[in-house]
Symmetry: C2
């Protein structure tokens, strides 16, 4: 993204809104001197961001040690087509969270985080689905990250062409971009009549 002024925002409302509209984050951490960026799901509760993974995964094993971590969530809202190649851009909203993850050990907080992971994707789904059993809980680690050091960055609106380029005779403006769902595909074991109500999905609640 180009470095232009006035794209930063740090207020909680903005940060929360972007996190609630997204559902995949990119987690950055260092293991054996090598930086890694791993995509994963997340959920938010107040000023806490939750991540989860297999207790055997490198992500979980590394983060649980309390090392520095960066979690970034990016939503792409549109293609910005300018008259100059230079001013082409993307409209986007992003949040960058810096901090240290904490391994959630309390059974109640852990179950509540798992509930939020599922219900963030599809509202009410956790209550319908078969609940996590002891073995699954044992194999799943939940990590919590404070949103204290979180900042948002937003680009919106039309291209910012140089005045002398306005005479260039090409179409210029914004092509909006959104995530949309296709027709739900029941699996081969499905015995339930009717379609899944896609209005429950995170991308339809935006």
């Amino acid at each position: 993204m180009r470095r232009l002024p006035a794209r930063g925002a740090h207020d909680r409302v903005t940060v929360h809104a972007i996190l609630d509209a997204g559902f995949v984050c990119h987690v950055g951490f260092v293991a054996d001197g090598q930086p890694y960026v791993i995509p994963t799901g997340y959920a938010r509760a107040d000023d806490t961001l939750y991540l989860h993974g297999s207790t055997a995964s490198r992500l979980v094993r590394t983060l649980a040690a309390g090392i520095d971590v960066c979690v970034t969530v990016t939503l792409i809202d549109g293609f910005v087509l300018a008259r100059s190649a230079f001013h082409h851009s993307l409209n986007y909203r992003s949040v960058v969270v810096l901090g240290h993850a904490r391994l959630v050990s309390g059974a109640e907080e852990k179950m509540e985080a798992l509930r939020r992971f599922t219900n963030h994707i599809a509202s009410g789904r956790f209550e319908e689905a078969r609940a996590p059993n002891e073995q699954e809980l044992k194999g799943t680690a939940v990590l919590a990250l404070d949103l204290e050091e979180a900042s948002a960055k937003i680009r919106s609106g039309p291209p910012l062409d140089d005045a002398e380029d306005l005479a260039v005779k090409i179409w210029a403006g914004v092509v909006p971009l959104r995530q949309t769902v296709g027709e739900p595909q029941p699996d081969q074991h499905n015995t339930v009549d009717g379609e899944f109500d896609t209005s429950r999905l995170v991308v339809m609640r935006r």
Copy 2:
């Protein structure tokens, strides 16, 4: 993403196809001991991934020193709704590239990379737009990253429910997810008749 077997792929064709279908990557690097994950555009030429940014940006200044970097591209293809909370998942395709960035100094390679950035978003756009001038070229740095150490990870298909959960009476399957474009919005200075042909955009070429 859950850790289940047989999701890895390392062949060039798969890696290239995922990189060519996406257009935003998340770049992970360490500055002053803190890992950062920054979203940015990219382009590919053969086995080279190009990034760019303002010469003043932290991303460029840090990466140009040749430090370890991780670049991740993630495409989300669908929500996987299982009968158990545990087996909920996402269908996705991702590429993780590890390596060291090289600052592109040759004028020809740099201009070719800039051409690819623009044309990756909208085919033929670089040739229509006003070309980069000397000042813009000076203010923009292009970084090149070898795709030698790149790996792909893919999850596709229906939920993998436990056999004993197949009796759970909730809808289960996949809801496909895709990026679609809205109506192009010409800016206030637009004097060109007709709409922008959105079939030229990267998300429509998938």
